[in-house]
Amino acid sequence: MATLGDLDRRWIFLAMGLLVVGMYAAGVKADLPSSPYVDSFYRTVEELPPRSIVLLSADFDPASAAELLPMYTGVIHHLLARKLRIVNTATWPAAPPYIRQEFARIAPLYGAVYGEDWVELGFKPGDDVAMGIIAQSLQNAFPTESRDGRSYADVPLLREVGAGMQGIDLLVTMSAGYPGILEWIAQVGGRYDVPIVCGTTAVQTPDIFAFYPRQVRGFLGAATGATQYLQLVDEVTTDAGVTAIKEENQRRMQVQSWGHVLIIGLIVLGNVIYFRGKRAPR
């Protein structure tokens, strides 16, 4: 026990690394039952009438893409499959490349036309002040769309969105931290009558429970939420890409579970060593 107490922490890193690589290579998938929060997220999108306009904000960066990109991809598939129209924004500077990459791949699958079914407005600096401006007047925040540089009035989809979130039927944010869902709730939820749903990183998920269901209609918490949501979206879309992402996430969840088992085991072992050390005569 005394030897274990002096164990070099690098052995723990190595154990975790080997476990994750080994379990990942084994390729076992975990089919997760859906949680009420994910069901509610899914239902909120399903209940929107076709042609409704959704403001989709990518508030993440490469550091959180592991958790948020799969759900972001799933959301785009879900919205376009339901014939909903999407206005894209980002309050994180590293998010716009993801928007471009995902829409370039997914929009043609559903025959979505740029400017009519979806539009890219780009990054807006200013954190929650920027969110306030976006909610106050989308045209003022983004006088031009970001892909072709067309002015706001020249884009058919944007002509239907007025000041004070007029025309926006749902706000979806993929939130990695600050600024993110908590700021959207304050700047939009507290001022305008627009329902909000979100996807969050694991670190931010515990903060969201308190806002559910009144201020946040539903949320996808971390990789678990993403997997549950992708399982639901896979049932309504025919694209093989969604199935592939879903299966990849199910595979990751199996690895997650074993990673947690290792951490729990180490915590228990650490406590046993600690309490035995306390009892031992000095």
């Binding site: 893409a65 958790e67 694991a202 670190v203 997650q256 947690h260 951490i263």
Partner: protein
């Protein structure tokens, strides 16, 4: 370990042909990118062993690239577009027409003056670099603090205080819409669970607040309340820690997934035929670079353990 994992990884790797260099983000990842991604990922992981030149290299590249990317993004979206392009567009507005500023229709000349004024305030912030105690940066700072406080007070107070508290305290202990045990498919849908959750919430909230009640004497009753409060807080922190672990493992799995993708034959150094197969697994970026990094770190460790050669003894007189 590599020998154990390799056949499995090889089986999972898709057979693709990859371009050597491509800037198309939606296409197949290019070979150059695969080698760079593998090098930097493994270099960052090498820090888990100890600080080393590979990690330093990755760190410097990361800081340099991030600074360049963020500077460009902020300049384009925060300076060029809202000042130069916006003022140019407002100036070109037909006579008599109004422009939109803050959601309000305004005369173009007034709107341009307001934007230029905002730009001047922005420049005033930079005076701090010339003279640290200058009065100039205080004005824009005062405005920024005022605007930020106003934004926070209105939106945040409403959403995180008024609505949240109102909702929690107006909720009854029993949910009439809850399902019976026979109807419910999940325990959360039952009335008993709802009541139990409400009781836990109310007790936890009151006891956690009670723990921070320092103005009252610590009687036995308050001590008991405080103890339950501490347990509530510990459960909360434990849950947050659990979610944090979830997030960190997700990041690790994502990196493993990325490295796995680059074990495809198309990224191997060995010759690849037209079908994209034929590349040797051991010459793919993750395995080759990983082996190289491990070998060099091991050499460094051996070098450090070798006893220092004593300096040659100084020749004596005669």
């Amino acid at each position: 370990m590599i020998a154990l994992i390799a056949p499995l990884v090889q089986e999972a790797a898709p057979v693709v042909s990859a371009p050597f260099f491509s800037l198309d983000p939606s296409g197949t990842p290019d070979v150059l990118g695969a080698w760079l991604i593998s090098l930097f990922t493994l270099s960052v992981f090498s820090f888990l062993y100890r600080d080393n030149p590979f990690y330093k290299l990755a760190e410097h590249f990361f800081v340099g690239l991030s600074t360049a990317y963020f500077t460009l993004q902020y300049y384009e979206e925060g300076v060029l577009q809202p000042i130069y392009e916006w003022i140019h567009a407002a100036h070109a507005t037909p006579e008599g027409a109004l422009v939109n500023l803050g959601g309000l229709p305004i005369e173009p000349s007034t709107a341009i003056a307001l934007r230029v004024g905002a730009g001047v305030f922005g420049l005033m912030l930079l005076f701090r670099m010339i003279r640290p105690n200058s009065w100039a940066p205080r004005w824009p700072l005062a405005i920024m603090v005022g605007v930020y406080a106003a934004l926070k007070m209105t939106g945040e107070t409403q959403s995180k205080f008024v609505i949240l508290l109102g909702e929690q305290f107006n909720k009854a202990l029993y949910d009439p819409a809850a399902l019976s045990w026979s109807e419910a498919t999940r325990i959360e849908q039952t009335g008993l669970y709802f009541t139990f959750a409400r009781l836990v919430f109310i007790t936890g909230l009151i006891c956690a607040l009670g723990h921070f009640m320092f103005t009252l004497k610590r009687t036995k009753g308050l001590q008991a309340v405080s103890r339950i409060g501490v347990i509530t807080l510990m459960i909360t922190f434990g849950s947050m820690f659990g979610f944090t672990v979830l997030g960190r493992i997700a990041l690790l799995i994502e990196r493993v997934n990325d490295l796995d993708r680059y074990t495809a034959p198309a990224y191997s150094l060995a010759a690849v035929d037209a079908s994209g197969s034929g590349g040797s697994l051991l010459l793919t970026p993750p395995l080759l670079l990983g082996a190289l990094i491990v070998a060099l770190l091991a050499l460094g460790a051996i070098q450090r353990r070798r006893p220092a050669t004593p300096p040659p003894a100084a020749a004596g007189p005669g």
